[in-house]
Symmetry: C2
Subunit: 224 residues, 2 copies
Amino acid sequence: MRAESVPEPTLRRLPSYYHYLVRLREKGQEMISAAQIGEDLGVHHTQVRKDLAVTGSQGKPKVGHRVEELIVSIENFLNWNNVTDAFLVGAGHLGTALLGYAGFERAGVKIVAAFDANPKMVGKKIQGVSILPMEKFTDLARRMHIGIGILTVPAEVAQETAEMMVGCGVQAIWNFAPIVLDLPQGVIVENVALYSSLGVLSRKLSVHRKALLAKASPEPVASE
Amino acid sequence: MRAESVPEPTLRRLPSYYHYLVRLREKGQEMISAAQIGEDLGVHHTQVRKDLAVTGSQGKPKVGHRVEELIVSIENFLNWNNVTDAFLVGAGHLGTALLGYAGFERAGVKIVAAFDANPKMVGKKIQGVSILPMEKFTDLARRMHIGIGILTVPAEVAQETAEMMVGCGVQAIWNFAPIVLDLPQGVIVENVALYSSLGVLSRKLSVHRKALLAKASPEPVASE
DNA sequence: GGCTAATCGATAATTTTGTATCGAGATGAA
DNA sequence: TTCATCTCGATACAAAATTATCGATTAGCC
């Protein structure tokens, strides 16, 4: 099986399993069945088995999977053991929030420096990470072989900032700006689309409320 | 067509179109073709047409769509015109970052108050929004008919906090905690899974790098 | 005024993702 | 030791989403 052929939905579910399993481990539970995972996380049990299968971990009939083993398998599969150094650009609200998170290191990403165009931010230190001026990015990124760039700048400058990152050898970009980046093939871009999330939320809420109204009103307005 | 029958991927793409269109409008462009949108955003043009079709907006052959009309259609469809009041719980790094964003109001969500269990946070004011003690949540949420709860608390207390929200009439939850909430049917939950995002990023980067190594090495290790 | 070229929108095919089925293996009890 | 039962994992099926095809429509040009 080719490595890339793992479905992306599977990739997205694995961290969810991971956190669930870590919580189980904290509680002292040693074994877990795919059925139970599925029930607790709202995923079909056959789906859980398929997802876990890609990590190489095997379960035993009648008893299920070893929690510890699953955790390690997922970590290995996602390469969360090998930490990659990252630069963050845009130390605004969101940027500083991400700097505040220590937990990303357990997910393979270590933010080693942050950059901002605003001179007032430069020189500050957030959660042990210094905010540096933009001018230093290019040189430092090249010398430190930075693999991941975190983009928390305004949308207007996101494209050019991303290009700068790629120019310095950055291979993957974690993009928080609400814009589709146009970058050379091969560069990995992972978008965190907060507005997409809000779109879904808002739409569903709107539909939900209309349904409630329709229920309350007498006439069953049938469409379709 | 039933309102709920709109595919969720479509819902997720619409905000992306929206921001793209707003940028076009700022540039003064009046018309746009589905093909052009698709090319710029990396979506197939037939997909773009289907997505835009659900909003009810129609294009004209040879000229395409009116930018302004599309924007309004998407806003209406996502109900981004009608702003819903939201309470945010957990004024930590991420919570304060979200408070700092003024833009969410254009996406139908207005954060009117924030809450935190930490007494040191209580009383502060971030971006014009006061941080209140948790004890006040229940009463205020009921009286103000809060529809949306934003959950930026640690995972350990996310479930109970969500239950409290639902108990106060909150209909939709925007969940930033890395946990699957178990809530009564009908409650709308939209997860922002940062770790899922990191899982995809990390895995792809790992595969990418292995591919580069394999290319450099002589033996073409063929699997599958 | 008719022709060309571009774009739309509907329908069909393909691909991807998710769900169900079923035999095999392992555990613990009779 | 044998049997019942639970769980796994492979295979087959169904649903959803994406991509392709094709006729219809319209603006601009000759």
